[in-house]
Amino acid sequence: MAEPQMKVSEEIAITIQNMNKWYGSFHVLRDIDLTVNRGERIVICGPSGSGKSTLIRCINALEEHQQGRIEVDGTVLSSDLKNIDKIRSEVGMCFQHFNLFPHLTILENCTLAPIWVRKTPKKEAEETAMHFLEKVKIPDQANKYPGQLSGGQQQRVAIARSLCMKPRIMLFDEPTSALDPEMIKEVLDTMIELAEEGMTMLCVTHEMGFARQVANRVIFMDAGQIVEQNEPEEFFNNPKSDRTKLFLSQILGH
């Protein structure tokens, strides 16, 4: 489905080399090496506690890594706040619990960062926001508050809010895990549309149907390591490691 547009360029978007992270003395991420090309869509799966969320949170420095090198869009992530803010404004992120700002309307949620970080004029920011709200199919909710929307609508607003910053990379941290089954589909549809437009995406999710349909690469993590990565067909039909086989049999088993 929609294969032709999903081209992956040779350009490199993210490089992670030899990255290690500890929480206290607990070694959460071990020797992570990962290169993501522009336009690539990667699904990261694995049992809970395997470090998959931590990995993508390291990419926009929500978590600090202690060893190794992360380069995003040509900027090397260091403790320099200017670099961190630059990377964050280029990388959009969606969270499991949406994290919309409850004291602002949907429209204000979407225009806040463009106005204050990008210094976009208010009117232009609002036009962009309405454009993306139409894209996620909720322009009529623009003046409501997040508390008045359903979970699925809130997650789509969160996606629109990230898109308003015109990011070159999108990170999704279990975007559908807090949603009812009926709402999962509307969020996944939005994400699929985004993928078809060629957005570079890293997505932590357990939606294996989504992975099959959209991903060019599926990464399986366990105990802080990348255990297996492959193209989706091969990954699901012919997993190599025993750990992957066990995981897949458990989540696809029922």
């Binding site: 630059k86 409850p102 960062a113």
Partner: protein, 432 residues
């Protein structure tokens, strides 16, 4: 009414059940009385006892108020007029109300000045309290402290103008340098303001107060409820920003800033306000250069502000802690810097959560301003206990005077409380 077979397992609903109003017995006055006052026999008994207690209180106070004497020269005259009947002697209020409001040393001919300042205060507060009003009104709010200072203390207009010039100069320097670094901006701004004040202080001649447009009134001549209002308003409006800074400081990852905030808050909270006020009136002079005579009013303001800022900081810290971590992460992930994240995302929500706590402290602070009477400042309570009750005419008129003070405080505090409830409703956007 049902088009399905209740006893079969397979079931398909073909008609919707329409919504209907609740049964009639669930509404109405009788229902309310039954449910709330006479539900059980114990409940009914309590209702009757409560009504009897209310009757006793009203039977005691209403005649006392209704028979009150409003025109008499002294307590003795009141008693003669009442001739044994129960009645209040409100004549003390008729005769002494200017003292209760303005203190006994404020020049009578100048009463219009604090009164005008009071009404200007209402205008200045309006855009702060009701944010639907045009934002341009805030310019007046910013100027109000200087206008009010000039009106109340009088003297040369150069003093408030100089103070304003210092703030304006400091602000421009801050604006210019804050883009490079916050520390440079804040430090440079403070330095420039200080220079303006010191140099300006030399330039204003010592005799400027003598032929000024408004008669100069020294701080020790301020008194009455006016003093309570002035202390309350100044300290609340200074301690909320200071409290925010302390709360953020306590959350800081920088050990020095965190340490200073923690030590300040814990020290101030561990000391009674009375002690701090005695320090202000007696000991604080040792900390200032010997030739400077820092005004007692200013010293008291500093102490009360520090005291309530420590409490407000803890209330706001509670609000900050109540915010989900996701709000910080969302702000970070959008690329907002610390100041933007705090100002636009974190503080608006944390302060909203903290409103009841902050108002609690503001109301407490306002009432605590009566403590200044122990360091011989003649606020409304100081006036009652001192000059008025000590006079031969009114010795012994406790209920009427203290009742008047109660009414003054109640009106203000109840107003604050009602405002805060309105504000909470107004800011409720979570639709829980």
């Amino acid at each position: 009414m049902s088009d399905t077979h209740a006893h079969s397992v397979a079931f398909v609903r073909e008609t919707e059940i329409p919504a209907s109003p609740p049964p009639a017995a669930e509404t109405g006055v009788v229902k309310w009385l039954r449910a709330n006052l006479f539900a059980t026999w114990a409940n009914s008994l309590l209702t009757i006892v409560a009504i009897y207690v209310i009757y006793l209180i009203l039977a005691g106070t209403l005649p006392w108020i209704a028979n009150g004497i409003w025109n008499a020269g002294s307590l003795g005259e009141c008693r003669e007029i009442l001739s044994g009947k129960v009645g209040a002697c409100f004549a003390v209020l008729t005769e002494r109300w200017p003292q209760l409001i303005y203190g006994f040393k404020y020049p009578t001919s100048e009463y219009w000045r604090p009164t005008l300042a009071f009404f200007l205060m209402l205008v200045a507060l309006a855009p702060v309290l009701f944010f639907d009003l045009p934002r341009k009104l805030l310019i007046f709010t910013a100027l109000f402290p200087f206008i009010a200072y000039w009106l109340i203390w009088g003297g040369t207009i150069l003093t408030p103008i100089l103070a304003l010039a210092g703030f304006v100069g400091g602000f421009f320097v801050y604006q210019k340098f804050v883009k490079d670094s916050f520390a440079l901006g804040a430090g440079g701004g403070a330095l420039v303001a200080l220079i303006i004040w010191v140099v300006g202080g030399w330039l204003i001649p010592d005799t400027a107060n003598e032929n000024a447009m408004l008669l100069a009134v020294p701080s020790r001549d301020l008194g009455g409820f006016m003093l309570n209002m002035m202390l309350g308003l100044t300290c609340v409006s200074l301690s909320i920003p200071l409290g925010i800074v302390l709360a953020l400081g306590r959350q800081s990852h920088m050990p020095l800033i965190k340490g200073i905030s923690v030590v300040f808050i814990e020290f101030i909270r561990g000391v009674p306000l009375i002690t701090l006020l005695f320090v202000a009136s007696v000991m604080l002079a040792y900390f200032f250069p010997p030739e400077s005579t820092v005004d007692l009013f200013l010293r008291v303001v500093i102490m009360i502000t520090m005291f309530s800022a420590a409490y407000i900081a803890e209330v706001i810290r509670g609000g900050l802690a109540a915010l989900p971590k996701g709000q910080y992460e969302a702000a970070d992930s959008l690329g907002l810097d610390y100041a933007q994240a705090m100002r636009l995302i974190i503080l608006p929500q944390a302060l909203k959560i903290s409103i009841p706590g902050i108002v609690n402290i503001a109301v407490g602070l306002f009432k605590d301003t009566t403590l200044v009477s122990v360091i011989s400042m003649f606020d409304i309570l100081g006036m009652i206990r001192g000059p008025i009750l000590a006079s031969t005419e009114w010795n012994g008129v406790y209920w009427e005077l203290l009742g008047f003070a109660c009414v003054c405080f109640f009106i203000t505090c109840y107003g604050i409380s009602q405002y805060s409830q309105w504000l909470e409703r107004r800011l409720a956007t979570d639709h829980r």
